[in-house]
Amino acid sequence: MIYLLFLVFGYSIMVFGALGLVRFPDLYTRLHAATKCDTGGMIGIILGLVFLTDASLFIKAKMFLLLFLIAMINPMVSHAIARGAYKMGIKPQVKVDMYGWDNP
């Protein structure tokens, strides 16, 4: 029964991430929603699937490998998107912009 808990947690976090993608005002805050909620929701779903399946041990190990790769690559991609967007000239709606002070 524990898999149901993980699956419900993962799906609800994904729903909040998609909602944040619609509701937040600019690109950088939307990236917050996309990165964190995707990573956390995917970890919840994969842990639920690991508890659910009766497959052999290697398949579970492969799922953990997938989880590790997702948790490493997702933040890197979000960093690349944010930096590229700033270099292209999309201004963030913030109070204080120290990156803009140092790179005019």
Binding site: I13, F16, G17, L19, G20, R23, F24, P25, Y28, T29, L31, H32, A33, T35, K36, C37, T39, G40, G41, I43, S56, F58, A61, K62, L65, A71, M72, P75, M76, S78, H79, A82, R83, Y86, P92, Q93, V94, K95, V96, D97, M98, Y99, G100, D102
Partner: protein, 201 residues
């Protein structure tokens, strides 16, 4: 030390920096340890992905990963701090350091998910881009620190700049509590930097 003239003080700080760099150069892992560590990691990857434990598959994997590890030994393990024997290092890493890091990151990820959900519902955002300083110098350490900061509650790494006295990170903070760089650094980095400084330069 306190009554030293200013020009002399600068000079002494430069000498200390040079000394730190030379310690870093001399305390790298020796080549055979780097080779063995890379080999072990690649062999674990091979066994998990192929999934056959017959003698033919294992011998093929050992030969292939051995050749790759010989040429790529500087790529993965260059920045690890040298301490004690290799076996002790692996045991410490597997039994103490890795579970510590995973537990810290799991709780922070959970907290950050709940925080994003709260921000989505109430829209009480207060964003700012702040600049924090880190003491890590190596590529692997900075990469892991930036990834961990992106997954901690309410922060997103924008850019990394390396200077002589340390590394500066620009962080987009969705609910900025303070703009003072040191206090912001304490709040954002937390225990993760202390943990990473035990392992990497």
């Amino acid at each position: 030390m306190s009554r030293m003239p200013l020009y002399l003080k600068h000079r002494v700080e430069k000498v200390k920096e040079r000394y730190l760099y030379e310690i870093y150069e001399s305390k790298k892992l020796p080549p055979w340890e780097r080779f063995l560590l890379t080999w072990a990691i690649l062999l674990g990857f091979w066994v998990i992905i192929t999934g056959d434990l017959t003698i033919r598959g294992l011998s093929l994997g050992i030969a292939t990963t051995g050749i790759i590890a010989y040429y790529m030994r500087d790529l993965l393990t260059e920045d690890i701090r040298h301490s004690k024997h290799l076996v002790w290092k692996i045991l410490y890493f597997l039994l103490i350091y890795l579970p510590q890091y995973l537990i810290i990151m799991a709780f922070r990820l959970l907290e950050s998910n709940i925080k994003v959900a709260r921000h989505v519902i109430f829209m009480d955002i207060n964003p700012a881009i702040v600049k924090i300083k880190s003491d890590l110098h190596s590529n692997t350490g900075i990469t892991l620190l930036a990834n961990s900061i992106t997954l901690t509650p309410g922060t997103l790494t924008l850019d990394v700049v390396r200077r002589l006295d340390g590394t500066y990170l620009y962080v987009h903070w969705i609910d900025a509590e303070t703009l003072n760089p040191e206090k912001a650094g304490e709040v954002i980095k937390g225990d993760i930097e202390k943990w990473l400084k035990k392992m990497f330069w």
